[in-house]
Structure formats: structure tokens, C-alpha cells
């Protein structure tokens, strides 16, 4: 396994170099100007051009690419944002990270705690009213856009109960209850799609396994239904769920952008969205690069977890 991990990590290097070039190319192709974002729309063309020069935006593309890669590679401060008082990107990422981590953990916990049991029940009670309700619930979750759900929740609670999450981030280590109050609805907004997805995946995987010969054999041996489901069925059924769940975790990061904006949470999503709106190229490039790295690592972890779930799988 160690050899496999090393090989995968080495393979990640050219992948990430390619990703960096792709990100840089896309940002280059993107029209717009950070100088306008900084000076505002009352600016004169002279002041905009002067600021562009000052920020080094008039340099050749390879000069700017090299500057960015160098800043990232030295890992000192990951470069500097063109916005945000030119703060080191490392600082910004560290400042915004806890909110996103907190939100995604809650969303994933909700997704797993609700999605997996819902999928199991749905599969075990196939074609009953419980299954129908579960499926409708899942289809709605897959269909409803995150931003719509977020705005509806926000307006519903604000208009009905005069409630809105705290504007300031409350750390769970300082005040867990306050943190839960602040994060629960954003997490539900973000996690609903995942709940639906995991429930659907669990249901179909479980149905695929429930009628296998070895399950029938287990039942014939007189094992309890609980042991049959948990020990013999679920473990095998979970492999595709885990594979796609890992990919979905990455999608969760996309949903974070919208959810954080709607609920005014200062996380990575907000930072990234602002960076794109303001054309803060170094910040956006670095953040996308980090997202890409997370995808690579998440995929690796998913692959490694296969061998634990299914001992037949061995890495060469």
C-alpha cells in the first residue's frame, strides 16, 4: 500500500502542474480588471492604468505565472492578494478556513447520519410508502438548487420568526450551542443534496447486494437480520457510496460558495467568490489550486479505503 501511495503522490505532481497551467490560462482568458475593483467605478482611466502598472498586471504572462508559482512553491505566504490590503494569501486562507471546515463537517455529518439510514430503510422497505417518501425526499434534494434553498430558509426564518444566523462566526470551541445555532441551517442547506445523493446511492447499492447468494446463505445459516444487513450487506454496498461520496465531498466545496454567500459566512467560498468578482488572480489561482490538491488527496483516500472495506482489493 505504501508503494501505491508513493506512486500516486508522484503522479500528483504533473497533475498539479497541469492544473496550475490550466487555472492560470482560464484566469488569463477571463475579462475584467482588479484595478477597477480596487478603484471603483468612479475611477478615471489614468488611475486604472497607473494601478495596473503598480500591481504588475502589465507584465508578460510567463512573468506573472512564474511569480505566482514561485510564491506558491516557496510556501512562505503563498503570494499576496491584490485586494484585501495585499495580505498574504496564507493568512487569508487560514482566517477563512475554520468556517468552511466547520460547515462542511456539519454538512457531511448530516449527509451521513440522515442519508445512509434513509437509504437503508428505503431499500429494506422497498416499494412501500416509506420507500416512496424517501425517494421523493431524495429527488427533491437532488433537484433543488442550493442557492434557492438557502434564500428560502433565510427568508422563511427571518420573516416568520425574525431569526437569522449570527453575522459573526462563533467558534464551536468557544460556544458550541451558539455555533450550532449559527451553522445548522447553512449545513442543512449545503447537506440536503448530499443526503439525497447518499440515500439514493445507498438504496440502489443495497438493493444490488441484498439478493446476492452470499446474503441468502447468511440468512440460511440463521444469522439475525441485523448481522446480515450490517456485517454482510452494508459493507459491500458502501463501496460505490464511498467512491461517489468522496467525489461529492468535493462538490460540497462548490456548494459552499453559494451557501456562505447567502448566510453571510466568511469561509473559503466567500473568499473565492470575492476573489473571482474582484479578479484577484493570485488569490483565486492559489485557492483553486488548493481545491485541486484536495481533490487529488480525497481521491487517494477513497482508493485507500477500498482495501479496508473490501479485503479482496489489493494494490499492485
Amino acid at each position: 500500500v505504501r508503494q501505491y501511495i508513493v506512486r500516486r503522490l508522484l503522479l500528483a505532481i504533473p497533475t498539479l502542474v497541469g492544473v496550475s497551467l490550466l487555472i492560470f490560462g482560464i484566469m488569463e482568458a477571463l475579462p475584467g480588471d482588479v484595478a477597477i475593483a480596487i478603484l471603483g467605478t468612479e475611477a478615471s482611466s489614468e488611475s486604472i492604468l497607473s494601478l495596473r502598472e503598480e500591481l504588475g498586471l502589465n507584465d508578460a504572462w510567463y512573468v506573472r505565472y512564474w511569480r505566482w508559482v514561485k510564491a506558491m512553491a516557496t510556501f512562505g505566504d503563498l503570494g499576496r492578494s491584490l485586494f484585501n490590503t495585499k495580505r498574504p494569501i496564507k493568512e487569508l486562507i487560514a482566517q477563512y478556513f475554520p468556517v468552511t471546515l466547520n460547515l462542511t463537517i456539519y454538512a457531511m455529518v448530516i449527509a451521513v447520519l440522515v442519508g445512509v439510514p434513509l437509504g437503508i430503510i428505503s431499500a429494506l422497505r422497498r416499494d412501500t410508502w416509506v420507500d416512496y417518501i424517501s425517494r421523493v425526499f431524495s429527488v427533491i434534494g437532488l433537484s433543488v438548487p442550493v442557492f434557492w434553498l438557502g434564500v428560502m430558509i433565510l427568508l422563511l426564518f427571518a420573516f416568520t420568526w425574525g431569526w437569522q444566523p449570527s453575522i459573526l462566526y462563533i467558534s464551536p470551541f468557544d460556544n458550541f450551542w451558539g455555533n450550532l445555532q449559527q451553522m445548522i441551517w447553512p449545513a442543512i442547506t449545503l447537506g440536503y443534496f448530499q443526503v439525497a445523493f447518499i440515500a439514493r446511492m445507498t438504496r440502489s447499492s443495497l438493493l444490488g447486494v441484498l439478493f446476492e447468494d452470499y446474503v441468502r446463505t447468511a440468512r440460511a445459516k440463521g444469522l439475525s437480520e441485523r448481522v446480515v444487513v450490517v456485517r454482510h450487506t452494508l459493507r459491500n454496498a458502501m463501496i460505490p457510496v464511498l467512491t461517489l461520496g468522496g467525489i461529492q465531498f468535493v462538490n460540497l466545496l462548490g456548494g459552499v460558495v453559494v451557501t456562505e454567500r447567502v448566510f453571510n459566512l466568511s469561509g473559503w467560498g466567500t473568499l473565492l467568490a470575492n476573489g473571482v468578482f474582484m479578479r484577484d488572480f493570485p488569490l483565486v489561482q492559489t485557492m483553486i489550486f488548493i481545491f485541486a490538491a484536495i481533490v487529488v488527496v480525497a481521491n487517494l483516500l477513497v482508493d485507500i479505503s477500498y482495501s479496508w472495506l473490501d479485503p479482496r482489493i489489493r494494490y499492485q
Binding site: E42, S47, K86, I121, Q164
Partner: protein, 597 residues
């Protein structure tokens, strides 16, 4: 089967336990300060003057004299009895690029103004009156060409460094002459010759001629005095990157500001006795409009912005105000406008007849809720219709594109286009590109203009762009045919109005055309001492600019503002950078707060 039932039961139990928990989590009530004033919901268009407090005030003394006696006396004259203490929850609506108030955007001023002072301020109750700030008094001499400011003594920066006239001179020189000085200096350069600091407590402004701007400029939030001892180390970047900016203002920062929060506390050493009334201010960044509106409703913030910005849609503001009668909703006439611009370097817009035809076909009123639009607003020209220089309606009706009879205008427009085609040949009017901006109301206006121009056989193809992209096309590259966006003036004065778009060297001449006659009139009016003569000259310039139809100011929209009725000591102002955003006179009318400190 037994297992399945058991599993399902457990799951249902979990859900039934979880749901009440979530409901409890969501029902935490917001703080509910008891309102002490009756709700006064205003949904009809109001001018800034009409929106100021209506309590009787004797005319014997000016607001400046009253505030010199005591801020409490000034408040009392406007029927207010301030309470002391409390934390104000404020908001900004745009990301701050950095911490340099002179090189930033309107939100920089809104977020940072509690830190700073200027030489003058406007009265918190009447924006037309000046009020002393760092200058305790001032004299206008040499026939209005020179202003001598006498500064307060013993004023200190928040870091303890003494404030002197050198800070003032440094600030104004930096704005006007140094690299890093802002484009906003155009009005400054038009009227100011030099700045002197003959002693630590005197500043002399030598004007190029007599102008009301020689005082107005210094009563604007943008003219905040910055600390020389910090800025001069690196004039371009020291303030931009300052971790903990300092000023002389009524509030000082508790901690280094983050991208989303500026946390202030009362400056106990503030040089104005009795001010500020508040103990603290938290300025939050809320970008999303829905989130901001609901934050007002749930009292996470007390108003929608410190000086009205064109962000809040009318319908949303109305629906929020309907939820609670103690939330005031007002529309303010400000120095913001929607413009409609044609690139005169590109045919067919290099021809006056085409521009005038388009102007004639656009019914300005159609851009408001009285027509096809979603905003409230006033039809106007380059001179703010809410101000003293406004072009009278009877004169406006004589302009191309402003006549009261739309049928006549449409017929005239068709004649103009026919005349153009007769001379230059047929034009394909079916695909004229129109650049609009996805933010704000630009693209909504574009759709209305699109519908209006169909009446003369012109079909616009809308080209929506983000601001950072569209503005580059319109302002820098000139890579557009027609477009429309928002603009703003800082002062209700012809100098500011025409140096933005119309005079030679104007810093936002999007239509790329000058009119020599307008330049000549501009120079004539600039220092005209007779206000009536100056007004007539300004109207002539306005007429020239609107009839030339390169860049049309079509609507002066009302900016929608929400605030709780316990917010006192604040009135709306036409300028986005007004000194009221400093909030030193703002107080909270909450019964738990005392009337003395």
C-alpha cells in the same frame, strides 16, 4: 422483518428528536429594543431636504453655532434628546480593497469615517449647513478666494501623536499632487491653488478663484485628514496596508479590522466634548442583498447602509418594511444617476442626428416605476434635479430628448434617422450592441431602453457584463457602441457635475467627445461671483451637453434605505461620502440607555 422494524423505529425516533432540536435552534429570538418613536413609513418619493427632521428650529443661530455651544443643544433644536452608550450595528456592502480612505471606494469612506475628522463637516441634521470639525472656526477672505481655517488645539491621533496643521497640508497635497492621489482630485485641482500651514493650528487654502466648493470640498468624508507621520513613510502603500489605522475621530479601532468586521469603541480623548454618544460600533460586511435585508429585519444590523448606496431594490425594501412597522423605509434623492452613453468615435454615433434620435426616443420616465422600471427616480439632466442648480422644467422640456410630447419626439427621431440615412446610406439597425452591467440596475434599464428604441425601428442586442469587465470596455478601451451604467457626483456644483463627463480632460468621458463652447462656458462660470449669472451659465452648459446627446443623464434614482426607528441623530444626504457616516451624532433611542454619560 423484526430487525427492519426495529431499525425503522430507531430512525424515526432519531428524526423526531432532531426536529424539535432544530426548531428550538431556529427560534432564538432577536433582541427587541422597545421603539420609542411612532413608525413613520415613507413610501413616496421624497427629496433629501424633505427627509430631514421636521422639528421646529429657530433660525437665529446656525447649526455650527449651536454645536459649538453643545451637541446636545443642537440635537434639542431638532427635537431630539440623545441617549448615551450602546453599540451600533452597522454595515458596508462592498469588499474593501485596502485601508486607504483616499484611494478606495465609497465603502472605504463608510467603514473608515468613524476613525477620522475633516476640517469641516455638514450638520447631522441639515446637510446644507457646515459644522466645525478639526477646524473650530474659519474665515473666507479675499473676496471668497481664500479660506483660513483655525484648528482645534490639543487634538491627538489615536496613537498619541499630536495633530497639527502639517497633517492637513500633507493630506491635501497628497490628494492633489502626489502619486496615489485619487482621481477625485479633479474638483480640487479646479478650484485650489495651494495650501499653507503657517503655524501648527492654522491652515490657509488659496483658491484659484471664489467658489462655494472651497468650503464644500472640506466638508466631505473624502477630505478626511490622515496621519502624516504614518502615511509619509510610504505615501502609496502605508495606509493601504495599515494593520490598525489611526485617526483623530470619535471612534478608534478595538482590534485590526478583518475583511468582514471593523470594530470600533468610543474615543475617550475625543476633542469634541460630549461626543460621540455611542459606546461602540461594529461595521459588518454583508454582500448579499437578501442577507442584508433580513439582517436589518432581525436587528443583526440597524440600517441597510450608512449613506444610501444604489443597492437595495425597491420591492425588497418594501417587503422588509412591511414586516415590522418600526423599520423605516425611505427613498432618498442623492447625487447618483443612471446614464446612457454612446461612443461618439464609432459610426453611426459620431453623427449628432443619430445620437439625438436615440435621445428623443427614450422616454426617461419609462425607467421608473411610473413607467416600465422597478426604481423610483426623477428625470433630470447633468445638474442634480434635487439641488439648487437644477435645470427648470420649462427649460428641460425644450431639450432634445426631454420634451413632454412623446409622439412628437418619436416623429422627430424618425426624421433625424431618415436624414442621416439619406446622406450616409442605409444602416442595419437590427443589431446595435448595448453594453449593460449585471450588477445594479443597468441591465434592467437596458431592457427598457431596448423596448423604447424599437419604436424608431432600432433593435438593441444587449451585452451584459460584470462591472469589472464592462467598465474596462467603457472607460479604458472604448470597446463599445452604446451602454449605460450608474455614476455619481460628490457635490451639487457645476464644477463637479461637468468635470466628470463633459469638459475637456473630464475623468469619465465615456462618450469620448468634447464641446469647445461648453469648455468656454465652464471657465466663465467657474469663479462667477453672481450666483444667478453662474446658474444661467451652468444651464447653458447643461443644454449643450444634453443636446449633444453623447452622454445622457437619464434618471436620478432614489436610493432605498432601511433603518430601525430607534436610530437617531442621522439624516440622509445627497453625497455618498457625507460626513454623517462618521456617526458621532448618532444615538440609539432605547429606553435602557441613559440621557447622560
Amino acid at each position: 422483518m423484526t430487525y427492519r422494524c426495529s431499525l425503522m423505529r430507531r430512525w424515526l425516533v432519531c428524526i423526531s428528536l432532531l426536529l424539535p432540536l432544530l426548531t428550538t435552534v431556529s427560534r432564538v429570538p432577536a433582541a427587541t429594543p422597545t421603539p420609542t418613536a411612532p413608525p413613520t413609513l415613507s413610501l413616496s418619493p421624497v427629496s433629501v431636504a424633505a427627509a430631514t427632521p421636521t422639528a421646529p428650529k429657530p433660525a437665529a443661530k446656525s447649526d455650527a453655532e449651536l454645536v459649538r455651544e453643545s451637541p446636545l443643544i443642537l440635537a434639542a433644536m431638532y427635537g431630539e434628546k440623545p441617549r448615551f452608550g450602546g453599540k451600533f450595528l452597522s454595515v458596508i456592502v462592498e469588499n474593501l480593497p485596502h485601508h486607504d480612505i483616499h484611494q478606495g471606494i465609497a465603502s472605504n469612506v463608510q467603514a473608515q469615517l468613524p476613525l477620522y475628522n475633516g476640517l469641516l463637516a455638514t450638520s447631522p441634521y441639515d446637510h446644507r449647513q457646515f459644522s466645525p470639525d478639526l477646524a473650530k472656526s474659519w474665515e473666507v477672505t479675499e473676496g471668497g478666494k481664500q479660506v483660513i481655517f483655525h484648528l482645534h488645539e490639543g487634538v491627538k491621533w489615536h496613537d498619541g501623536t499630536p495633530f497639527t496643521s502639517a497633517d492637513v497640508k500633507y493630506t491635501f497635497d497628497r490628494i492633489m499632487f502626489q502619486q496615489g492621489g485619487n482621481f477625485r482630485r479633479t474638483a480640487w485641482l479646479a478650484v485650489i491653488e495651494s495650501i499653507e500651514a503657517p503655524d501648527p493650528h492654522t491652515v490657509i487654502i488659496n483658491g484659484k478663484g471664489p467658489s462655494p466648493l472651497l468650503l464644500q470640498i472640506f466638508a466631505d468624508g473624502y477630505a478626511s485628514i490622515i496621519p502624516k507621520h504614518i502615511s509619509e513613510k510610504d505615501p502609496l502603500n502605508a495606509l493601504k496596508e495599515a494593520k490598525l489605522p489611526v485617526g483623530t475621530g470619535p471612534f478608534r479601532l478595538v482590534e485590526p479590522p478583518t475583511t468582514t468586521l471593523w470594530r470600533y469603541e468610543r474615543n475617550p480623548d475625543y476633542f469634541k466634548k460630549g461626543l460621540p454618544y455611542l459606546d461602540a460600533i461594529d461595521v459588518h460586511l454583508i454582500l448579499d442583498i437578501q442577507a442584508r435585508a433580513t439582517a436589518v429585519l432581525t436587528q443583526k444590523i440597524y440600517w441597510s447602509d450608512p449613506t444610501p448606496l444604489p443597492q437595495m431594490p425597491l420591492s425588497l425594501a418594501q417587503s422588509i418594511a412591511k414586516q415590522n412597522p418600526n423599520i423605516l423605509h425611505e427613498g432618498f434623492s442623492t447625487l447618483l444617476y443612471n446614464h446612457f452613453t454612446m461612443n461618439t468615435t464609432r459610426p453611426p454615433f459620431d453623427d449628432l442626428r443619430v445620437r439625438q434620435a436615440f435621445s428623443e426616443a427614450i422616454d426617461r420616465k419609462a425607467l421608473t416605476i411610473e413607467g416600465l422600471g422597478n426604481q423610483r427616480g426623477t428625470v433630470g439632466t447633468a445638474l442634480w434635479p434635487g439641488g439648487e442648480w437644477a435645470l427648470p422644467q420649462e427649460m428641460r422640456w425644450q431639450l432634445i430628448g426631454y420634451g413632454p410630447d412623446m409622439n412628437k419626439r418619436i416623429a422627430h427621431a424618425k426624421e433625424l434617422l431618415a436624414s442621416y440615412e439619406a446622406e450616409k446610406g442605409k444602416i442595419d439597425w437590427s443589431k446595435i450592441p448595448y453594453l449593460c452591467f449585471t450588477q445594479h440596475i443597468s441591465c434592467e434599464n437596458a431592457q427598457i431602453i431596448q423596448a423604447l428604441l424599437k419604436k424608431i425601428g432600432v433593435n438593441l442586442v444587449l451585452d451584459p457584463k460584470e462591472t469589472v469587465t464592462g467598465f474596462s470596455a467603457i472607460a479604458i478601451k472604448g470597446d463599445y457602441y452604446m451602454g449605460g451604467f450608474i455614476g455619481a457626483q460628490d457635490f451639487d456644483d457645476p464644477i463637479d457635475a461637468f468635470t466628470r463627463h463633459y469638459t475637456t480632460g473630464a475623468f469619465q468621458q465615456f462618450h469620448r467627445k468634447t464641446i469647445p463652447e461648453l469648455d468656454r462656458l465652464f471657465e466663465l462660470q467657474k469663479f462667477a461671483t453672481d450666483p444667478e449669472k453662474r446658474k444661467r451659465l451652468a444651464w447653458e452648459m447643461d443644454t449643450l451637453a444634453m443636446n449633444d446627446a453623447g452622454m445622457l443623464i437619464v434618471i436620478w434614482p432614489l436610493t432605498e434605505h432601511l433603518r430601525w426607528n430607534f436610530v437617531k441623530g442621522w439624516t440622509p444626504t445627497p453625497s455618498l461620502r457625507n460626513t454623517n457616516a462618521r456617526m458621532e451624532h448618532v444615538w440609539l433611542d432605547l429606553p435602557q440607555l441613559p440621557h447622560s454619560r
